[in-house]
């Protein structure tokens, strides 16, 4: 064991009460950090999960045209661009099976599915509702949006003229699995049989969206063989925006990521994160001040002892290290205990705050790597806190303190 470590441990063990005191301060600080981090990240994860539970990570939609300038900007010329509606009929994605395959194989994308979207009037008896119609391939679509898992009644299958309706729409119209509804477009009215009622956890989707087979939608929307949208799923959800921009450049199709669509949510999450970082930062500043002040007092008390160490051949750098090691040990051990306390608090909170149905309000869980980060931060904080007293100790002049 190095001499500096030996002396540092002797000092920590000799002043047990003082050591316990600063370790507790560190443990409490880290517990607050761990608890807050778990709470915020759990809350955010559940918000993001809920958001992504009813929408694709990235959609490529041929209908949404970008303003395309007619002249190039440059020199003294500025160009104003706006969309002039040129087509009565929605735009389609030409040659889509090949492009779907290319997009699915594109880096960052883990799945892609075709979709044809349009609008229709849904009629049941003499009640009508405007709805969004999506023609999908049920099998591939559910790998993008977990629709199969969201079925609350019926079976996840679209054979022939079958249709999925949302829970809120079904309640509103008083229909259920096995009932018939009609969809009306310019092309005429078509009859459908409800094979499933779904709940995607999003009221607007549950109220306004119906799903039919791709073939039925193509007939209904007078677009035989066509689709106008490709839905994709990415591996890393927070990479979606970057992947979307790249896809747009590669395909020339208007591309929107969930991040762009939910920019308000993301701004809220980000400011929530930064305020939680700010709190964690100040907690650690308080911990550092606590450790530093105790060690400063300890250096003052040990002036003569440090003088003796110096008189008997201990280098200044070793004296510095003796105090830095004390800070590091306090940070390391204090934060390890703090991780347990913080996790305990978070679990207690999770188990006491529940939804009416008994499930946790939101999930809280920690990864080992997150603990490692907390412990490293706290150890560094301990070392930084000890650096002032350590420097003070190294400056002690043996002739002045030993008599």
């Amino acid at each position: 064991m190095p001499f500096s470590v030996f002396i540092a441990f002797k000092y920590l063990l000799d002043e047990k009460r003082q050591t316990l005191f600063i370790m507790s301060a560190c443990a409490i600080g880290v517990a607050v950090m761990v608890f807050l981090y778990g709470l915020i990240s759990g809350l955010q994860r559940s918000l993001v999960d809920r958001t992504l539970g009813s929408q694709a990570h990235i959609i490529l939609n041929a209908n949404k045209e970008k303003p395309r300038p007619l002249a190039e900007a440059g020199g003294d010329t500025a160009v104003m661009a706006r969309v002039e509606r040129g087509f009565d009929r929605p735009q389609m994605i030409a040659d889509w099976p090949r492009r779907l395959e290319a997009i699915a194989a594109s880096s960052g994308i883990v799945a892609a599915a075709p979709r044809l979207t349009g609008a229709a009037l849904l009629r049941r008896g003499d009640v009508t509702r405007p709805v969004g119609v999506s023609g999908i391939d049920p099998e591939s679509f559910t790998t993008i949006v977990p629709l199969a898992k969201s079925v609350v009644a019926g079976r996840y299958d679209l054979v022939g003229d079958e249709i999925f309706v949302g829970k809120d729409l079904a309640d509103d119209l008083g229909v259920t699995v096995g009932d018939r509804v009609a969809l009306q477009t310019r092309g005429g009215a078509f009859n459908f049989l409800i094979s499933a009622v779904f709940d995607l956890g999003n009221r607007s989707v549950n109220e306004n969206q119906v799903f039919v087979s791709l073939r039925q939608a193509q007939a209904l929307l007078e677009a035989p063989g066509d689709i106008n949208q490709i839905d994709t799923r990415v591996g890393e959800i927070f990479e979606a925006e970057r992947v979307a921009r790249r896809l747009e450049k590669e395909t020339g199709i208007e591309t929107i990521s969930w991040m762009e669509q939910n920019s308000q949510l993301l701004i809220a999450l980000r400011s929530q994160s930064s305020s939680s970082y700010l709190i964690q930062f100040f907690v650690m500043v308080a911990v550092a001040l606590g450790i530093a002040s105790v060690l400063v007092v300890s250096v003052v008390q040990k002036r003569a002892e440090i003088g003796i160490l110096r008189a008997f051949g201990t280098k200044r750098s070793v004296v510095t290290r003796i105090f830095l090691i004390q800070g590091a040990v306090v940070g390391l051990l204090g934060s390890t205990v703090g991780c347990f306390i913080g996790t305990g608090l978070a679990m207690f909170f999770r188990d006491s705050a529940k939804n009416p149905d008994g499930t946790p309000l939101f999930p809280i869980s920690y990864e080992l790597s997150e603990y490692v980060v907390f412990i490293i931060i706290a150890t560094l904080v301990g070392i930084i806190a000890a650096s002032l007293p350590a420097r003070q100790a190294a400056r002690i002049d043996p002739a002045q303190v030993v008599h």
Binding site: P2, F3, F6, K10, I308, F312, G313, T314, A399
Partner: protein, 223 residues
């Protein structure tokens, strides 16, 4: 005759605004195996002189040579290493580290020199403690032994690096006359058997009389 310590024209001035010269041109040589008493009135500059001889403080003017090597140009690290290997200290107060056991206190200079405990260190420290009569107190803490025992442990610590010279500033000043006699006798015996030189600051005339040489400081000058 090779001197371990040699001071030439050493002066020491304290203070930056109001300067007081405490030592005025001290010339002093400590040969190997010497047993020197330094006496003088309180405030005459004995501790100041000993600190300079012990490389704990630097002279304002003049030179200090250790084993004929001038120390003026050395940096703090070199001075620290030289001090640790050549000099041992005993103070009026024992200054044992209270967090360490008696034997760990004696091993401290050895560990500071090597950077860690190495094989044989513990045995060497135990042997030293046995010599000073503390063979039964190795694992006691300093506050668990008597004042005379503490001062003997401090002497064992000063001996740990086998220094050429031990500087002792009133080593018996805090002890009763019996312990005081024992501690002094121990130093004499170590001087005889190992040839370790001693420079002992003392007020006690009877102790000074038993030394090989006596120098007296009067107002910062040797007489």
């Amino acid at each position: 005759m090779s001197a371990i310590l040699e001071l030439r024209g050493v002066t020491k001035t304290y203070g930056t605004r109001i300067k007081t010269e405490v030592l005025h041109g001290i010339d002093l040589a400590v040969p190997r195996g010497d047993f020197l008493a330094i006496t003088g009135q309180s405030g005459s500059g004995k501790t100041t002189l000993l600190n300079i001889m012990g490389l704990l403080d630097r002279p304002t003017n003049g030179t200090l040579a250790v084993n004929s090597v001038d120390t003026a140009g050395m940096d703090d690290e070199a001075i620290t290493a030289l001090r640790g290997r050549t000099l041992g200290f005993v103070f009026q107060f024992h200054h044992l580290l209270p967090a360490l056991t008696v034997i760990e206190n004696v091993m401290m200079p050895l560990m500071a020199d090597k950077g860690r405990e190495t094989p044989g260190m513990r045995d060497a420290a135990a042997a030293l403690l046995k010599r000073v009569g503390l063979g039964e107190r190795l694992n006691y803490k300093p506050d668990e032994i008597s004042g005379g025992q503490r001062q003997r442990a401090a002497i064992a610590r000063a001996l740990a690096m086998k220094p050429a010279v031990i500087l002792a500033d009133e080593p018996t000043g805090n002890l009763d006359s019996v312990s005081s006699g024992e501690v002094f006798a121990l130093m004499r015996e170590l001087n005889k058997s190992d040839g370790t030189a001693f420079c002992v600051v003392t007020h006690a005339a009877d102790i000074a009389k038993q030394c090989d040489r006596i120098v007296e400081i009067v107002d910062g000058r040797l007489v």
